[in-house]
């Protein structure tokens, strides 16, 4: 086999890592390079240094240490049975690339994952070695996200969490049964236990009783990813699974990754165009659960799918027209948050402004972005939607004609 140069390896191992949706670089708290000997800072908010034509943010150098893998997960481009080209980075190569790209301000840091080679501990150890070298040898203070291997030993997991800002373990598929079918070497129980151990580690790291502050254990928390559209799980089932994951393991994020065609597909999972709109709606629903006080059951029942043509908040409002219109001059924050087209920021500004003035429709327009969407659902000092709220064709006004959906 021809020897690969570093650029070829980078090409293969970035290509192999791109199906992981997470690229967040936020939540690590404040630190910077002053007083140190290296480079790097995090200031809470993540930074996207570029966007590719798929609309995704490029924040971290997202690569695999190697895409050789002993597992045979049908949905994965790197499964052992795939004929994809293989490569493997040396630890030093990843360290040098990360620092070189960071100093040119291309990235916020490193997101390192890996195929499983030899065994879980061997692989995890090599990943930890990269993070250790960046932190200890180079005093790197940028962002590090490490993908944990659920089967790896607790000691290695703990080391990884001390060097990394964020750690993640992918649950991969919404149903345990699908994981058993498509990823025969993976075990949903082992994955959950590993996530549980991380939550215990994070909580122990926050214990205030300890006098000497221990090194921070994954200060940006943990996240996970579910592939959408590879198994038969409905949206309701997926969102119920998400709530469970948020509740059980204190996750910062559940990422939904539309099952994407890969080169050299497996027989058991034929390629299809990725359900991007479905993914988008799931993120919107997830957002409603986390920031708008919606319970999963309010958004959707387990056996149902989300409406692809309109967003889940609008869908909820159309099902609950008896709750509308809402008076923007007197309604509570909770009720205003349920109005389609009103976000948390608009609502907070509305609450502050109405203490001093009566809000007209023109005022509302200046506070919210999308007046047409919220008009049927609010009253203002000079506006009442009248029969508009209850019109049977209200949904049609917002739903794009069917052919537009595929363009998304």
């Amino acid at each position: 086999m021809a020897v690969l140069d570093l650029k070829q390896k980078l090409s293969i191992l970035a290509d192999a890592a791109k199906y992981d949706a997470s690229c967040a670089s936020s939540g690590a708290g404040k630190r910077d390079s002053q007083g140190g000997k290296g480079v790097g800072s995090t200031e809470g908010m993540g930074i996207c240094h570029a966007y590719t034509p798929d609309g995704r943010c490029v924040s971290l150098l997202k690569i695999l240490l190697t895409n050789y893998c002993i597992y045979d997960c049908a949905y994965c481009v790197n499964r052992v049975s795939s004929n994809t080209p293989r490569a493997r980075f040396k630890v030093q190569e990843v360290v040098d690339l990360t620092l070189g790209l960071y100093k040119r301000n291309y990235i916020e840091g490193l997101f390192l994952s890996s195929g499983i080679i030899r065994n879980s501990d061997y692989t995890m150890e090599a990943m930890v070695a990269v993070a250790r070298s960046l932190r200890a040898d180079h005093d790197f203070r940028g962002y590090i996200h490490l993908k944990l291997i659920p089967e790896a030993s607790v000691e290695l997991t703990n080391q990884a969490a001390l060097y990394a800002d964020r750690v993640s373990i992918n649950v991969e598929l919404p149903r345990d049964e699908s994981l058993a079918a498509f990823a025969p070497e993976k075990d949903a129980g082992v994955i959950r236990k590993a996530m549980g151990a991380v939550r215990l580690g994070i909580e122990a790291g926050k214990e205030p009783a300890r006098k000497t502050r221990p090194p921070k254990y994954a200060p940006a928390g943990q996240s996970t990813q579910m592939i959408i559209g590879a198994d038969g799980a409905r949206d309701g089932e997926i969102l119920a699974r998400s709530s469970t994951l948020y509740g059980n393991y204190g996750l910062r994020r559940v990422y939904y990754s539309a099952f994407s065609p890969i080169p050299d597909v497996a027989k058991s999972l034929p390629a299809q165009r990725p359900p991007l709109m479905r993914e988008h709606r799931l993120y919107q629903a997830d957002w409603l659960m986390r920031f708008y006080g919606f319970e999963t059951a309010e958004i959707i029942a387990p056996g149902e799918d989300l409406d692809l043509a309109i967003d889940p908040k609008l869908a909820w409002a159309l099902r609950h027209r008896e709750d509308f219109p809402v008076d923007v001059n007197i309604a509570s924050r909770e009720r205003l948050l349920r109005v389609p087209g009103l976000g948390t920021r608009s609502v907070d500004r509305m609450l502050a402004a109405r203490k001093l003035t009566r809000l007209s429709l023109a005022d509302v327009k200046r506070l919210a972005r999308n007046l047409e969407k919220l008009k049927p659902f609010v009253t203002a000092s000079d506006w009442s939607p009248g029969a508009l709220t209850d019109r049977v064709d209200l949904r049609d006004r917002f739903a794009p004609p069917p052919e537009q959906l595929s363009l998304f």
Binding site: S11, H49, P53
Partner: protein, 481 residues
Amino acid sequence: MRVVRLASETDFDGWRAAARALRPEAAAPADVLWTVDGGQASLFPAQAPQARTAGEGGFKVSRAFVDLAGRVALHRSPARFDLLYRLLWRLDATPRLLEIASDPDVALALDMQSQVNRAAHKMKAFVRFREVEAAEGAEAFVAWFEPAHRVTEATAPFFVRRFSNMAFSILTPDVCAHWDRQALSFTPGADPADAPTGDDLEAYWRTYYASTFNPARLRTATMVREMPKRYWRNLPEASLIPEMTRAAGDRTTQMVETAPSEPARRIVRAALRVSRDAPFDGAAPSSLEAVTAGVDACRRCPLWRDATQGVAGEGPARARLMIVGEQPGDQEDLAGRPFVGPAGQVFDQALAAAGVPRREAYVTNAVKHFKHELRGKRRIHKTPEAPEIEACRWWLDAERRLVRPRVIVALGATAARAVLGKAAPISKVRGQVLQLQDQAQAVVTWHPSYLLRVPDAEAKARAEGQFIEDLKLAWALAGEG
């Protein structure tokens, strides 16, 4: 008409000084013309109002206004200083004006502020350094950047914090920032020709950029919204975009239409070797290890689905005393061990008070998975119901058969039901010695989490005393003969 000439486009201090002077003179916004001179004079000499020191003019503005104005002043709109003076003017009649975000002037200022903030954020994102020659052992970088608003001076400290140990310059048409690892300084705007033309690592960055793109997810509108085209000419990766976009359709079609390839033979063989979990209702487990493994794979009831793991008992395989709780809680579910959470602490204290060494008892639960419901993001304990207790008795019975304790302590109603095989009100049976069919004796007592919940201090103390007495009784029975 009063004409104010500010020293530079970002001369916010000049604006403040002039505004402070004009405001007490009741110079109405419509009568003031704000211009930027670029020269040295800050106020038009002929009409220069007498500047007063702070507070002398008898008006004060909030910190929030000064912060907002400082950001708005960086906007490229020629109308920005006029808008700020108008806001200042109106604050007199409406001191809380800024809280009315729906007011047209305030809305405009807030919009301009968020555009400036966005420009600063995009500067943090899109500055691209190129390495230049530096003294031995040192590194130096230079970037050419064109900010959407005049945010260079305000954003330079970010780069100092991030790259304090490397020398850098950021050249822009407005102003240039320089960091020599000691101090931050600024020089007048530069020309793109002053910047270096390339860097060896750019080829790697372009390789990465092209490889991390998934052609099956083409969404160029999102890309352009987040990475506006005005920035593209200074981004080394942006020249790849047209070709990546053009080829995406064909690449996707090819992936979708190519037939799956045959997996290698050795892979098929390996797959056959993989055996999944043994069925839970196979032969009764013949060791405690088998119970532990079986509990974790158990599907006898649906509780496994939302739990992390099945939590089996722990303790000596021939313990004389077995203590049965209700079910694992939040902490036990994560840790995989019984009685390690808040109720576990009460339990441990009571054991210590009763003189029962925990390591000599076999400690387990009636139900092995955590039953709960979500309240927001928190898991709230739910009492297991009869079908779950019945399903899980299979495991408790196996533990009883294998450990063969002399005495079993049942903590709470769920445990009592599981141990006795029927519901028994705690208040009636508590503290008695009950004979079981397998020749063991049972003592039923409170569940430690009940002790955590008793509101009334007196009742709580009484229940705690009973709990300790019951444990003592059980331990004494277990030690006899």
